[in-house]
Amino acid sequence: MTDINTLTVSRAARMLQGGECSSEELVSSLVRLIQERDGQIGAYLHLDEAGALEQARAIDRARAKGNVDPSNLLAGVPIAVKDILNVKGQPCTCASRILRGYVSPYDATDVARLRECGVVLLGRTNMDEFGMGSSTENSAFQVTHNPHSLDRVSGGSSGGSAAAVAADMAIAALGSDTGGSIRQPASFCGCVGMKPSYGRVSRFGLTAFASSLDQVGPITKNVEDAALLLEAISGRDEMDSTSLDLEPPCREGALRRDLKGIRLGLPKEYFVKGMNPEVEAAVKSAASLCSAAGAEIVEVSLPHTEYAIAAYYIIATAEASANLARFDGVRYGFRSDRAEDVLDMYENTRAEGFGPEVKRRIILGTYVLSSGYYEAYYLAAQKARTLIRSDFEKAFKECYALLAPVAPTAAYKIGEKCDDPLEMYLGDALTVPASLAGICGMSIPCGQTTDDLPIGLQILGPAFREENILRVGYAFEEVLERAGKSEGRGV
């Protein structure tokens, strides 16, 4: 049963349905592997072995009695969840000291939806504290190493989820994406990561970083799995007023190996100066492969891209400064021992509970909202957001989807960018525009650097047209595989 761990969701589903293995065996085997490998990688913060085994046995019993609907491919499949989503009865640390001791009394809607499908919740994955970071170095507890090269970062903030999937320590995982936190680690770790359109998936139970940007999405080994998980978690939730009442993307419509006659755009502003040439080459060659498979490739312009980072860091930190005000040591989590009076309690609890990157962003967000600056920063950023969104709307009038790099480089060395927060922020330049516009995006492997580091291709689609990017991604998987075979090696 050694290959059990390289399973995708769809293969695992077939094996479970065909009786080739049980959910309990799947869980036990993954747990063994995690115990073996995760010491070096650091993907998990909390492994719920007992709980996972119990859930797996319950599904196995139900299946034995014929009580599992065969169309439900997720039943009994173990999945890892980023430690930012609330799971009833479990800690939810957001990789922060400030949530020490907190046990969630409720399930996030996405978690509840997975539970209803019979998904086994394997454990909680590491992340940048409260989602603030691009390398998973900002966790209060551990750094998550890139499984492809242990001295490199896994990307972030959903680095734990991406590394767990890449190292076969999870069949699939949930992450969350505010400005690239699913797409970029998926790219660094060589997985498929999808950020749904804003409003597609419920945010209820997702600890908020930036409420107008956050979305939950899958990190998987292939596009089909991403489609499966997205279908399970999407849809209107009465607990989230910003979630929309839409049919989930049609899996059958999306998953066909066909690019003929569709027009794909290459936004010229995404091929920036200072970009790693290997990354640029890999993305351009991906475009050529799509062209060879029948797609039309055109260059498009998204002229306001250069303002995206500035607008993003204003909006995201402003919202975060309010969202994180609730961590004060009164109702749950950590409280400083130095709490002589109420002001002491607040200031010391937050000083001792938050890490430096979180503090930096809270200060920036507080500053841009403070008296006299609102219009200069927050309002201006909201207007820039309108312009960025209309850039995309224009491009999608012509194009079925856009192809772009996910990040200017592949995974960098741990510690390489720690001292310069601004440089770290600039690394998000290619993922934040889609977040600001609320459109959907996906990262899918498209090659490697000469150091064998994965390179991701970003596929962007119009809002609520997830089937567009799933279709392009699904077709591209095959195109890439065929190309690799004809060259006699991986691309």
Partner: protein, 99 residues
């Protein structure tokens, strides 16, 4: 990084107090330098001509998302006090508040 008035663009010590974050002197100095750089960068949004541009508050715009006025059971007192850093007699306990 100077703003129009010629003053430093962000006063980290003041803003940190607004955000109830106690910073050491070294932290304040480091953040002051880093955030001046970041604020200088995000000033970019002020360069754009946004005449006649409406702000976007959400990724998507819908409206009137209402809930029917119907009461439902919440959590028990015991459940929520279990998470409290300090509690007594059914109340969350905090240091004495002086008004």
């Amino acid at each position: 990084m100077m703003d129009v008035a010629g003053e430093k663009n962000i006063d980290v010590a003041y803003v940190a107090h607004l955000a109830r974050l106690r910073l050491s002197e070294e932290e304040t100095a480091v953040f002051q330098k880093q955030l001046e750089g970041i604020v200088g960068y995000v000033n970019k949004v002020r360069e754009i001509d946004t005449t006649g541009v409406e702000p976007t508050a959400h990724g998507r715009s819908v409206q009137n998302v209402f809930r029917e006025d119907m009461a439902r059971e919440g959590l028990t007192t015991e459940e929520v006090l279990r998470n409290a850093p300090a509690q007594r007699d059914g109340l969350f306990v905090v240091p004495k508040i002086v008004e």
